[in-house]
Symmetry: C3
Subunit: 272 residues, 3 copies
């Protein structure tokens, strides 16, 4: 069976992620389900898009990527499955925008032919009709992911849709010099849309100029620093602090790289 | 082996859930353990009861449901195992109240005959005597759940107790029109004790009247709406907002359904 | 394969723990990975050291303990593997200090010979060079843990280092009477460095005297109480409350046991 990598904003304060796993278990008993993240900030598509970009290069080819961050559940947004070197299942709301820069799908299908899980082994309560229109993770996406994990064909899930018609977030990754703050991580580090971090240069954000180094270990505790983060994007951090709060950073803020002066000797990598 | 579905308020800030899994692993190596939720609000029995109700219809028959939300640990409350179409392990404090509406046990046993896990492969520290009386998840419930997962008999765990004597929370689910706010989910949606959500009707809570719709996508962003939630209970939400905070809702508040006027044409389901 | 018990401060708001699991999956497909805790307070080494102490007696011999709480990532701190009755992988920053009181390693190696995971199955982006120097959980520790889980030798990972040279936190566990507040758990209970909790005695902290009992169930709701916690350390709690906030406790505060008066009859254990 294909492993399922599962990302959501369901949190662990509610059983929603667990219910999705129960449905995966029912449809594909024993399928390996690996949690990517479940406490993403609720309904934050930029954060989800970044999380999938961060993880993607390490997800095995052929894996099923099940991602449910879905502020539009209950509206007319589509449910889709897309096929690149991995298989993607989720709402058509742009949350795969950055992941698909690395693994662009060649085909996509709307999920319309799926039988939702039906409650079993229970007594009916008078007047009770569970189901509702609000839990597509359980009723649509989990059955679709299980279908794919079992090796069945995506085209069985519904009609083909044009890859170009899928929703994209208005985000671009760029070598610079101009970009923006994409999102933040748990530690308050700002992740930008910039793909490069020229050593010896500076980053300008909200009127401040911040030195670019190899890691945040190269500045004193409490100082601001920019560096190439683990996803290959320029990040802005405070050494053992919270850059978001202390520097007053916000999503979408412009960020500009000021390269190191030319003609100067190249700043050597520090000894490691 | 029977899969174990595990719910607790242990959080992931401490290793308590992990230690329970280590004990399950020791007693039943390789047993499938599926997390339902571990960041339930500490010691909140209503929330736990709701979480188990939400998940129950999707848990396979024969599964072991291990639930540890236990404000009374260290007091005289009993530890129990109960047998319906699934097997329940946890404190006798009412946390299964709603789940058992759907899957009423036919027999129950107090857990008295269990050998707690003993530390192995360690050096003793002078004066150190781990164990204590406060971690029944590790010392009682995990060994009992592993026992059941291995297919062994519940009656080996201790004396039978009368199902009618088990503790229940003072909660009833009802088609209405009068109910109450049962609890809240992570997004601040209020879950009520009402089993119906008549389209075109209203819900009155804390002096406000809120329209009942199919989903929150049918009102504008920021507006209040009631709808049938994923558990089959009427919920009150703000479209992309937090109903609990914005509307000032609290647990136990009375909620009343005002049905749609009779004689009017039935409000059709919206196109989907 | 050896099971891997995985502890970190990565949280579930980001995919970092998930990426580590993806790398473990790639290097050792199907390896059992059991989560100990992932929402430890960021960069809090005392809390991490306590969490590992709490869990250790229940981790099977031969298991791999992968622990990543690493405020010094990107500095010159070493990455190590140590071999006791279990195998330890993590930064050399003291986070194993308390666990090693119970399971002192006999040999240790610096991790220097490891091939980091390389992104596969992706399109390169112009200018993009992922990797960075900041995610040793993914690039160093996960490959090392997978290596050990497969049964391969620790000495293949790098040169031997003296066990005595490994970093220790300045923490001692003691029968008392003088100790300190080690850390807090999620519920606001204070965990101390004291290994004993003499019934009928008192604990003095921040000018207050708190009775020592078997469990917090023996005092009224809202009252302070000390007892032997699940890790075998004296804890200070409020029955159904938050001791940290209500009593104004802080990490490192001195704690003194005042034993019960001699000559008095020994306080019997309460009936259970």
């Amino acid at each position: 069976m294909r492993p399922i990598f599962f990302l959501s904003d369901f949190g662990l304060e509610d059983p929603y992620a667990g219910v999705v796993k129960a449905v995966l278990w029912e449809r594909a008993p024993g399928v390996p389900v690996l949690d990517l993240a479940h406490a993403l900030p609720p309904q934050d598509l930029r954060r989800a898009a970044y999380a999938l970009f961060e993880a993607l290069p390490y997800l095995p080819e052929g894996a099923v990527v099940l991602a449910v961050v879905d502020p539009g559940v209950g509206t007319r947004r589509r449910a889709i499955v897309a096929r690149g070197r991995r298989l993607y299942v989720g709402p058509d709301n742009g949350l795969f925008t950055l992941a698909w820069l690395l693994d662009p799908p060649t085909r996509a299908h709307e999920i319309t032919r799926i039988s939702p899980p039906s409650p079993t082994g229970i007594l009916p309560l008078p007047g009770w009709a569970p189901g509702g229109h609000t839990f597509h993770g359980r009723d649509l996406f989990a059955p679709a992911a299980a279908h794919l994990a079992l090796g069945r064909a995506p085209e069985e899930l519904g009609p083909e849709v044009s890859f170009g018609d899928l929703v994209r977030l208005p985000l671009a990754l760029t070598p610079g010099p101009e970009g923006e703050i994409l999102t933040f991580d748990r530690f308050g580090n700002a992740i930008t849309t910039l793909l490069e971090a020229p050593q010896g240069g500076l980053v300008e954000v909200t009127g401040k100029r911040i030195p670019i180094r190899n890691t945040f270990g190269e500045v004193e505790v409490g100082e601001a620093v920019a560096y190439l983060g683990s996803a290959g994007l320029l990040e802005i951090a405070l050494h053992r602090g919270n850059a978001r709060e202390t520097l007053g950073l916000r999503e979408g803020m412009p960020v500009v790289i000021i390269p190191p002066p030319t003609g100067l000797p190249h700043l050597a990598d520090p000894p490691r």
